[in-house]
């Protein structure tokens, strides 16, 4: 499988169809992998794909320093492909400005022996492929098990749970940096006139930051889980994201990442949207 991927990467670079391959390479030892940016066909053999490859590489395509390298061909698992589709939908990259080197991973999002290389895809092709092969795996019972468990608690219990979780937050913003959809050049936490989010890692600032992070991803999060993985203090951020995904699905019948040509769900409306909560 990895040979197919390397061959395709080499071919894309040789034919100049892509300016840079963004993929995974060997890290400092056998049990780490690191993102690599390959611009010369001779280096295509450095690409690897194994259980230690977990970064969502779409994070890099919106950054200026990587844009300079030319059209990217990105090694992408299912959730990473959805990130690319949302980036096109939100006009951050052009639909023909990216190639996805689609790889399949297991249920945990890790590469394993059964992983496959599905070929190089354009955005519309990726969308079709996902609809056929991945749509049914969204928000399954085991994915929202933690959400369901929390929803069973009383309001006071949930408040206690989240306050305790957020207390550990050190405001490193790793969740934001790892997220392919947190692409703002100036994040709201870096604006200080007015200072919307209290910047110190104290309880009030942590609460505000975590609300901002979760809500700015409402209707956009593609459930790759990078925020939770990147979090050095282990806050269950994915549960927050999934609670919102669940609500967006219930209220607007929408799952993010399957519609590169449509409007984002929170930037559109229907006249008969649910309004039972409005007095």
């Amino acid at each position: 499988m990895i040979e197919q991927l390397r061959a395709k990467a080499k071919e894309l670079l040789e034919k100049r169809e892509a300016g840079v391959i963004i993929g995974y390479g060997r890290g400092t030892n056998e049990t780490t992998a690191t993102p690599v940016f390959i611009t010369s066909p001779a280096r295509a053999g450095e690409l690897i794909f194994n259980p230690f490859c977990y970064n969502n590489l779409l994070t890099f395509v919106t950054r200026d320093e990587h844009k300079q390298l030319g059209k990217p061909a990105v090694v992408a698992r299912e959730c990473d492909m959805k990130a690319a589709i949302v980036l096109v939908q939100e006009d951050q990259i052009k639909a023909d400005g990216i190639i996805l080197l689609s790889v399949s991973c297991d249920e945990q999002g890790r590469a394993d022996a059964a992983c496959r290389f599905n070929g190089a895809m354009t955005i519309p092709e990726a969308e079709e492929w996902l609809k056929k092969n991945y749509r049914a795996k969204e928000l399954t019972a085991d994915k929202i098990a933690q959400v369901a468990e929390l929803e069973k608690m009383s309001d006071a219990e949930r408040w206690a749970f989240w306050s305790k979780e957020f207390e550990r937050c050190i405001k490193c913003y790793a969740c934001r940096q790892a997220c392919p959809l947190c692409y703002c050049r100036q994040c709201i936490v870096e604006k200080n006139l007015p200072q919307w989010v209290l910047t110190s890692p104290h309880p009030a600032g942590n609460m505000a930051w975590n609300i901002v992070r979760a809500f700015h991803l409402a209707g956009r999060c593609i459930d790759c889980g990078e925020c939770e993985r990147a979090c050095p203090v282990g806050i269950p951020l994915l549960a927050l994201n999934r609670a919102l995904q669940k609500e967006v699905l219930r209220a607007f019948d929408y799952v993010s990442g399957y519609d590169h040509a449509g409007k984002p769900v929170m930037a559109s409306f229907k006249k008969d949207d649910d309004e039972e909560f409005i007095k």
Binding site: E151, D155, W159, S163, H202, A204, V212, F215, E247, M266
Partner: protein, 153 residues
């Protein structure tokens, strides 16, 4: 302490419908609870959810967002976008453990002075029953050594 708890409620209202409705309640000399602090904005679509968080940070026990009825928006569709946003936002706050009654939404038109007065009484009653928003007050208490710098100060 036999004094009844008087909640502080921040209302974010749109300029064209609810603010005019609240004004009508005043000019009609309707009497209603005085717990609401009204903040006027052009449209409910203008209301960033951070306004609500800031209100809680500054001691509000509840917030109310009120605008035009669907179809009546001065900017044609601002309240439709807002409606989607609040649908998800109130879910998020509730998922974090904030009681649903602390974050309320309504449509009050410029002609509905009576509805505004009744609404304020109703919301105030509901929040009075919930009591002070201890959760957020505790967060702020724990963070009291560091206060935000306000614009212009």
């Amino acid at each position: 302490m036999s004094e009844e708890f008087e909640p502080k409620i921040t209302a974010f209202v749109c300029n064209w419908c609810t603010y005019a409705g609240a004004d009508l309640a005043g000019t009609s000399r309707l009497k209603y609870a005085s717990n609401m602090r009204v903040i006027k904005l052009p449209c409910t679509g203008r209301i960033d959810f951070m306004f609500l968080i800031r209100a809680f940070e500054q001691g509000a026990d509840a917030v109310l967002v009120s605008g035009c009825h669907p179809g009546d928006c001065h900017y044609n569709e601002g309240n439709y976008y807002a409606r989607r946003r609040w649908t998800v936002f109130r879910k998020l706050l509730n998922f974090l453990g904030i009681e649903e009654d602390r974050v309320q939404f309504s449509s009050v038109s410029a002609a509905e002075g009576r509805k505004w007065a009744d609404l304020v009484n109703e919301v105030t009653g509901a929040v009075r029953k919930l009591g002070p928003f201890k959760g957020y007050k505790q967060l702020m208490e724990k963070s009291r050594f560091i206060q935000p710098v306000e614009a212009g100060k």
